[in-house]
Amino acid sequence: MAQPANQEAPGSGTRQSETLAPPAGHGEHEGFFKKYLFSTDHKAIAKQYLFTGMFMGLIGAFMAYTFRFQLAFPGSHVPGFGVVSPNEYNALVTNHGSIMVFWVAMPVLIAAFGNYLIPLMLGCDDMAFPRLNRLSYQVFFLSVVVLLISLFVPGGGFGGAWTAYPPLSSKAEYSLTPLGSTLWLVAVALEFVAFLIGGINFVTTTMNSRAPGMKLYDIPIVVWMIVIASLVFMASVGPLVAGAVMLLFDQLFGTAFYDPARGGDPLLWQHLFWFFGHPEVYVVLLPACGIVAEVITVFSRKKLFGYKTVLYTAIATGIVSFFVWAHHQFVAGIDPRMANVFTATTVIISLPVAEMVFVLVATLYGGSIKLTTPMLWALAFIAEFIIGGVTGLFLGASGSDIYLHDTYFVLAHFHYTFVPIAIIAVFAGLTYWFPKMFGRHMNETLGKIHFWGTIIPFNSIFIPLFLLGLAGQHRRIYSYEGFPELARPELQQLRIIATVSLIVMLCFQLVFLFNFVRSMFRGRIAERNPWKANTLEWVAASPPPHGNFETMPTVYRGPYEYSVPNRDEDYWPQNQPA
């Protein structure tokens, strides 16, 4: 406060700068590299994150296809890969998990949407720290490179599961991947650093750089969600960063942090990991909910039911998510008394999440619903996520978890949460903001074909896996032929149904890719505000130029004033004077 020398101090200087001419069209004269590879423009960085995330998604999907093929037809030649060896199987499963969580869900949901939407929705021309933003992507890109290298080093990629429990992850004698496990760990650590930098940027921008007149309760819900998620990430990832250093030392320098024979404790890693790992679920869930909330309000032409309720439940979810982590460890040998505590907290966290779903459903009630492609995805998110949430209750209660732990029931449960989050909500967001991002419309018919071609096979992949899990099928098994009670033909048929459904679902993604690329260049030109939405990003041109707005907007009202009585139009942009 007391700093005359400070150029950033609030006061007259700040306000004056707002009245400067906008740097519209600034990016036109920059060279290709400056514009697309080393840009500090938040929209370019968002697209870098988006395309990197989509690319990694293709790799993760290919891995899923490979090991699902092996499970359905053990020992056979997988088209496009060859025969999968047990070690390769472990590496594929591990890296599928890591990639989908750390290199698809995080960069797309938080980094891509966060970078794209936060400055536009807050009515500013860029992030508070544009160069830090660029650094964040560069570190992330480095982590991608390190991860991809780790797949091809001698010994193969890391195969100790994405949770990397020691001693499997700490000792090369066990994992058989001396280089792969270290590179994997380094890649994950770099990815954390990238998102810490990005998260600080998001939070600071939202706190300080809002358009004049935008009060805290005028911030669109999706921005709130990304900010809360960034804070939760920031507070939960620290211990795991320390833990990763300790694991690295165990791998490289022969320390014994996780070696019980020499005074260490492998349970410590599990605590460090899940203290981050469980909040991480909410780190990706909250932005997904935010995207869905935006889409649902726009396409039901109704005010969001209970803005403050959503906001407070999101904060509550973020806080309670720190109190539930040990429910992943009920059978790991933790003290049974702690299991009671964590069962209770796990049941409690379903309250705010359920409330959020109720708010979304209440927003639909009585609205004039338009079933566009983004709206279909948003509705599918609610439906599918409820299945994921309800099956979670069986796993959160320590009694039933002892039976279900480490079966395919767990696997199907978290895919029923993660696929809605990282795939369905992302498609809702992508199809909704595509006209803004690229200035063109996507094809609705192809969009709907893609939607149904994804949702139906998605359910027929994972419902059989629920049944297999209840039948006792354990995770992380290369081939069930050695287990007579699991190799029965009726169970094998369920595996084949799941695998065939997966292949069908992946084929339908080609429809999306075709639609995406074609619409980018050939789609119908989009006007500024094709969905007649209120938030500030629709005030800018489509696609917004460098600097975003011709005149920096001022905000007069909340983001969800749809169908206000006594008005000609059923929407009321935030920047329109009363």
């Binding site: 406060m1 004056q16 707002e18 001419a21 004049p212 805290l216 203290f275 040990a326 702690m338 005149t551």
Partner: protein
């Protein structure tokens, strides 16, 4: 955040005039909007006013940093001398109690958290609190070597072995 000299940004304003931003340029309006945001943040405007006043007063009332430093050095001497009495409780109090006091002094006077908006201190305290939470959830399994219906034989064996070895070495 470098200020590159070739910026057109600064060159714009005279041309752009007042009209397009008639509303923007109204300082009272702005102050009010900013005030509103603050008020919401603090849940009440009164607290905000108080904080501002506080900050203003503090401009003249910074503790002399050299004096704070002298106190810190004196505390350091105590924390080194204290454990020489070889009383376990005294060691804990002098070592960690004084560390807490020193950290408080540095945070208040050097980091100037005393005159910063209060939610910053709360945010930092919350991140410390999460670490206490982590400790509370993890210690029953890692710090303890025996619990209800379980024993950590490996850890117990290691402690026994190391203590025996230390005794043999004559400690």
């Amino acid at each position: 955040m470098t200020s590159s000299p070739n910026e057109t940004h600064e060159a714009g304003p005279p041309a752009s005039g007042d009209e397009p931003r008639a509303r923007e340029a109204d300082p009272a309006e702005h102050a009010q909007a900013a005030e509103h945001a603050q008020a919401a943040e603090h849940a009440q405007a009164a607290e905000h006013a108080q904080a501002a006043e506080h900050a203003h007063a503090a401009e003249h009332a910074h503790a002399n940093p050299v004096r704070v430093w002298a106190i810190l050095c004196a505390l350091l001497v105590v924390s080194v001398v204290g454990p020489m009495a070889e009383i376990r409780l005294l060691t804990l109090i002098t070592a960690f109690g004084i560390a807490g006091v020193k950290a408080y002094l540095v945070a208040k006077h050097f980091l100037r958290l005393g005159v910063e908006r209060r939610y910053v201190a709360y945010a930092l305290v919350v991140s410390v609190a999460f670490m206490v939470l982590f400790f509370a959830g993890t210690a029953p399994d890692v710090m303890e070597h025996r619990g209800r219906l379980w024993t950590n034989h490996a850890a117990q064996k290691e402690v026994e072995r190391a203590l025996k070895e230390a005794a043999r070495d004559g400690h």
